[in-house]
């Protein structure tokens, strides 16, 4: 486990936790690596939400269970966190927020911090979050300018007085924080200065823009909605048509219609919304329409746990839609992955005329990570649309299974697309031979897709004897665990293209004497796909499905247990 400092801010919905999370991450980033994540209840007001901010002098992208410094913003959040505090934890807040028995049992220290009083002194109780922002900035000995700048930016539309009051509130907190006697052992670093703090949601949105998205039709569903909102905010500047569809069925059909007309379109949803889109996926399959579908998973079945996390929709995506047709499923781990894989999703969809899924989860989209400077390639904006000739055939049988894709109004030909089985022209057919030819043509694209397989990322020694495998958002925590373990023959393989699976994955597995797979679902869905498609049985299947991500402590313990 890395040397790090874990702050947790605990309050209720509506107390502005997300705002302070962003402000703090931006400010901390100048001197330390920082990762933050939030866990929220499915409600607009009340309940208990927390934000975790983890600070380190080395790259940190993982959730830690044990809290070093806990800030209580109200009086009914303490009891939920009793198993996350110990004798090293310092708890800040008002005396009335504390349950003395819990405190005594944990052996934690309490330090009174009257945020509301301090805020009132600065002009209004409304500034209490800014006081807290200042306090933590002081604790970490951050440059005060690093705190003032984001405040000015955040309140730029407000009056000068409000800005001044917030800055005063920041300084009040800062002085207290700086004066606080503390044992912070992490050292500052300036490597991260040119990094950027972005959320998983923003990574997917930026990736989509870099992949040429110019159309998004979606229906809101947590936690997939963020991407719709992000693209809506950027839509005016980037010429993106953004439409809130009447339902998910409309969304996927609009998306396919937009691709047919020549656009690059995205839909974003979560598992339940995607379940409604399945017929559309099948439509994309037979019409050989490109499509890009982002699914931020949450625990099901049914409505499940709307604001929590899970990786249990891999099977849903791999098997979605009736009939047999190829598809691609990409699962980002880091925010770089989020940008680069989403960008590539558009390219792959256009090139191979198949549905491409970007599979994330609540933990991924709602967390903030630092991303190093990234050079975006123009390559993935390449269009595969052809100008049609009078004899154009949309479903022409070719050597490589790919029929050049025309669009209506571009060229002298006609573009006929059919969800019925069709001949080369796109006309309905019930000819059995044509059916077999067309089915074979569609399925043969999987071989082409595998030729361009996105390689997995191996972390740790190349001559490993023990191997951990995972996919999606478990990347950060497993990377940290493997990089800080004293087991020198242990490596970690993060699979980014989870479907179709390439035989190279089998080679990685075969090199190891023992293999473990970590998944946030109950049935080890990727392990089962590996068994089915690569004929390798991974015995050690570590799963979690209570709605929360793996913590670094859990992973460290499991590694010791398994290897």
């Amino acid at each position: 486990m890395l040397q790090s400092l874990t702050f947790v801010l605990s309050g209720q919905a509506g107390q502005g936790l997300a705002t302070i999370e962003k402000l703090l991450s931006q400010a901390i980033k100048n001197d330390y690596y920082v990762f933050s994540t939030q866990e929220v209840m499915s409600r607009v007001r009340g309940g208990n939400n927390t934000v975790e901010i983890r600070v380190s002098s080395q790259p940190v992208d993982a959730y830690k269970h044990t809290i070093d410094m806990l800030f209580l913003l109200n009086d009914h959040s303490f009891y939920r966190l009793h198993d996350r505090i110990n004798e090293d934890t310092v708890i800040f807040g008002e005396r009335a927020f504390i349950d003395e028995d819990v405190l005594e049992k944990a052996g934690s220290r309490f330090s009174e911090l009257k945020l509301n009083d301090l805020a009132s002194e600065a002009g209004s109780v409304l500034y209490s979050n800014t006081v807290l922002f200042g306090f933590i900035s002081g604790l970490l000995d951050l440059d005060t300018e690093a705190g003032e700048a984001p405040i000015r930016k955040k309140f730029q539309s407000k009056s000068e007085k409000i800005i001044e009051n917030n800055i005063n509130a920041f300084h009040k907190g800062y002085q207290l924080g700086k004066a606080y006697e503390r044992k912070i052992s992490i050292e500052k670093t300036d490597i991260i200065r040119d990094h950027r703090i972005i959320s998983g949601t923003e990574a997917i949105g930026i990736g989509a823009l870099a992949g040429g998205v110019n159309y998004i039709a979606s229906y809101p569903m947590s936690p997939g909605t963020g991407v719709l909102q992000y693209l809506a905010q950027k839509g005016n500047d980037f010429d993106v048509i953004v439409e809130q569809a009447e339902d998910e069925i409309a969304a996927i059909n609009m998306s396919i219609g937009a691709w047919y007309a020549g656009a690059r379109s995205l839909v974003t949803t979560s598992g339940g919304g995607f379940a409604l889109m399945e017929e559309g996926v099948s439509l994309a399959g037979i019409t050989e329409s490109p499509s890009v579908i982002h699914i931020a998973q949450r625990p099901g079945p049914g409505t499940g746990l709307p604001t929590r996390t899970e990786q249990a929709d891999l099977n849903l995506v791999v098997y979605s839609g009736h009939g047999e047709f190829p598809r691609i499923v990409l699962a980002p781990g880091s925010v770089e992955d989020g940008v680069l894989l989403t960008q590539k999703a558009f390219y792959l969809a256009d090139k191979y005329q198949v549905p491409v899924f970007v599979l994330t989860d609540q933990y991924y989209v709602d967390s903030n990570f630092s991303i190093p400077p990234l050079e975006l390639s123009e390559k993935y904006l390449e269009s595969f649309i052809v100008e049609t000739t009078p004899d154009y055939l949309r479903y022409k049988v070719t050597d490589n299974g790919l029929s050049p894709r025309g669009i209506p109004g571009f060229g002298q030909g006609l573009v006929k697309v059919d969800s019925d089985e069709h001949d080369e022209r796109g006309s309905i057919t019930e000819d059995f031979n044509v059916r077999v030819t067309m089915n074979d043509k569609r399925l043969s694209k999987e071989d082409r897709i595998l030729e361009e397989y996105i390689e997995p990322e191996l972390i740790g020694p190349k001559d490993y004897k023990k191997l951990i495998i995972s996919w999606g958002s478990t990347y950060g925590v497993l990377k940290e665990a493997v990089q800080s373990t004293d087991q020198k023959d242990l490596a970690y393989l993060h699979i980014k293209e989870v479907f179709p699976l390439h035989t190279m994955i089998r080679d990685y597995i075969d090199q190891a004497d023992s293999v473990a797979i970590f998944e946030i679902n109950a049935t080890s869905q990727l392990a089962n796909l590996i068994k089915l498609h690569l004929d390798r049985d991974i015995q050690n299947r570590i799963v979690k499905y209570n709605g929360t991500p793996f913590s670094i402590e859990e992973i460290d313990a499991k590694i010791k247990e398994v290897f």
Binding site: G235, A261, L283, K416, D418, S419
Partner: protein
């Protein structure tokens, strides 16, 4: 070869005497009279006998899923407003399976024509009730007769603010062509509900029934009067034919999109500059 004809023989799946043949001719005649080039037209349809129409008109088409002709059509039109787009299907396809899209696309007001073949019965699935089937109509499923009140598409459309609402009868190709032409020329959402007999599965609402139970609106009928139009639509003693309602001047869905406010170039003809995205990443 005339526009919209084929240079090979078609194997048409409609029954001899089906009203769909006449509807096809009316559509093709309207398109020819308006000199719309087949390469600039898109027909978007769902599933059903009516939704097979694109198979028999030689132009661009997207023959998609049952009920989903509208979402595809709206997306095509907004992605490339230079195209003429017609969404076409039957009463089950468009008012039943696609009912939610019908409602919400009226609210959007895309500049597309929505042609709905209304024969008050399901044809392709062999004779079950459709949303517009009349009360007491007996079918293999509704064995005791239809109990659900018939859906009134015109009244729904007018009350939701549709900007062009018309009804035609396939048995009068000349008038039907005229109505379709006006629908294509209308800038905004245009519903053309077309009565037509199903010769195989609806022996009640046959050619004679439609003839006897419809009338054309007068020459001097004021189509801009929404209350009168709603009255006409709600009157099911005898069904009015013609353009019941038209409102001009409402901006269409595409024209209200921010991307087309200053620049009419279809989004599909614009290019993304990767440097702009790079700058976005740097701005965090």
């Amino acid at each position: 070869m005339k526009p919209y004809e084929f240079d090979y023989e078609l194997d048409i799946a409609w029954c001899p005497g089906c009203g769909n043949f006449q509807i096809r001719n009316s559509i093709v005649n309207a398109l020819r009279e308006l000199e719309i080039d087949p390469t600039n037209l898109v027909l978007s349809s769902g599933i059903g006998q009516a939704a097979k129409m694109p198979q028999y008109i030689n132009t661009n088409y997207f023959n998609g899923l049952h009920g989903r002709g509208m979402p595809v059509a709206v997306a095509v039109k907004s992605a490339n407003p230079e195209l003429t787009v017609i969404a076409e299907g039957g009463d089950g396809d468009m008012y039943g399976e696609g009912g939610n899209h019908f409602i919400h696309n009226i609210r959007r007001n895309p500049n597309i024509v929505h042609i709905v073949h209304n024969n008050m019965v399901y044809g392709l699935t062999k004779g079950q009730a459709s949303p517009t089937s009349q009360l007491d109509f007996i079918t293999p499923v509704q064995v005791n007769g239809v109990r659900n009140k018939p859906f009134n598409p015109l009244a729904v459309a007018i009350s939701l603010g549709a900007t062009f609402v018309a009804r035609a009868f396939s048995g009068d190709p000349e008038q039907t062509t005229k109505i379709i032409k006006q629908a294509i020329e209308h800038d905004g959402y245009a519903l053309v509900d077309i009565f037509h007999p199903c010769v195989t599965f609806n022996k009640i609402n046959n050619f004679k029934w439609f003839k006897d139970n419809t009338y054309y609106l007068d020459e001097d009928y004021d189509r801009s009067n929404v209350k009168q139009a709603l009255d006409k639509a709600l009157d099911i003693e005898k069904y009015a034919l013609g353009v019941l309602y038209q409102k001009e001047g409402d901006a269409s869905f595409e024209n209200q999109l921010h991307v087309y406010e200053e620049d009419k170039t279809p989004i599909i003809k614009r290019t993304r500059n990767i440097k702009d995205v790079q700058a976005l990443l740097k701005a965090f």
